[in-house]
């Protein structure tokens, strides 16, 4: 009987883990990170995932001439000082918030339409490697509307 209970518990946890992570990220993006975009209007896209210390993520997006943008990169409480680096397609660094006191937002406009790469790095903490923290990281874009 016991192994059957463990299997049920195991399957139940597998089902629950991704959904709880996603729900956590959805709420974090909507209720915390989106506020950083004001007074810019959020573009409506959802880019968020659970990241673990030491992991990084890249986002590819085309930015259009004449449009002013605000990027907000936020990590949930369990992650500290999430770094974001803006690079051109040749991976030349244009901005890093590490040199800007780990600011959560950056406002910019492009004179010519171009694709940029946003590299997000979750630093390794001082914890024992066996206890890596995970948390939600959201990358959100605001649009200037006037």
């Amino acid at each position: 009987m016991k192994p059957f209970v463990y299997i049920l518990l195991f399957l139940g946890m597998l089902t629950f883990i991704p959904q709880s992570g996603n729900a956590q990220c959805k709420n974090f993006a909507k209720k915390v990170c989106k506020l950083e975009l004001a007074p810019y209007v959020h573009d409506g896209n959802f880019n968020a995932a659970i990241l673990t210390e030491g992991e990084d993520a890249e986002l590819f997006k085309t930015f259009y001439a004449g449009q002013e943008y605000r990027i907000a990169v936020c990590g949930s409480e369990s992650l500290s000082n999430v770094e974001f680096i803006i690079m051109d397609v040749d991976r030349r660094v244009l901005y890093t918030n590490a040199k800007d006191n780990y600011k959560l937002t950056w406002d910019f406009k492009v004179e010519a339409t171009q694709q940029l790469i946003i590299l997000v790095k979750v630093p390794s903490g001082n914890n024992d490697e066996a206890e890596l923290s995970s948390g939600c990281v959201a990358i959100m874009f605001g649009l200037k509307t006037n």
């Binding site: 959904q19 209007v41 986002l59 997006k61 085309t62 449009q67 171009q114 890596l132």
Partner: protein, 305 residues
Amino acid sequence: MINGPKRYSCKIPILVLLVAMLACKSEKPKDESIKVTEDELMADTAATKSLQSVKQIFYSLPSPLETALILKRSGAVYDEEILNPVENISHYNTSKAMALNLGIYSTDLSYASLFDQTQATVKLMTASKKMAEGLGILNAIDNSVIQRLEENVNNRDVIMETISETLLNTNSILEEDERVALGSIILVGGWVEGLYIATSLVDDLNKVDNELVDRIADQKLSLGTVLNLLNQNIDNKDVKEVYDDMVDLKSIYDQVQISASEVDVIPDKQSKVTTLRSKNVITVNPEVFKKLKTKVRELRNKYTA
């Protein structure tokens, strides 16, 4: 959108941990300690380090709201005739058709709202709501959203904020439900509609200073993102069909030339808005533009039929 196969990379160690826990419980007495050799410890450390370098990839397309803003800034005018009639909603009975047209109506309503076409905005939001309901995204657009639009017909900021909220709801609910393939089709539907509106509004390519033509050519860059985004779920039949359509479109965009100069970063201490200064040289010959316009119309007609 998030790279499917790598999205739950943190699940793997948890899974391994759970399996290990089960194995320990069923096969070993509680007080038995596990002896780890130095070699095993080093191997574990190496495995942890390799997990730490896992990279997740996001491909972000211009949202319907961004597309509408770009259209307006480029000098587009409002033409209700080119929008997908809301009466067409009864034609869309499959997930693929509903997803494409949810994207299409979302772009149409963003476009209408920016030109203060409030009646059209409310009608198109209602059409979007029906498509979302058909896809089982019940909470993305509820009746309070329609009511808020109706109560704020003269307040463009509230209308745009409301549209932004519904787009975020739709995208995040699909992500939460692990229906990212469907989410990618919605985004591509919205992107194609933006391209359709833009190409429909350009009649005279010989007009030299046509910003709208430049923005249409710029979509060559976003098309790369479209293909990468769809490719993440290419094993889904509906996604594969849309992907093949986009490959056809790419064969025309390959004839559009864009050469870009290096980027200079110009910070502005007063406004705190940094300018990324560069210049693109775009070459689109009229024949290629005509082929592009025809192809976009063909795809859009196929999706809205």
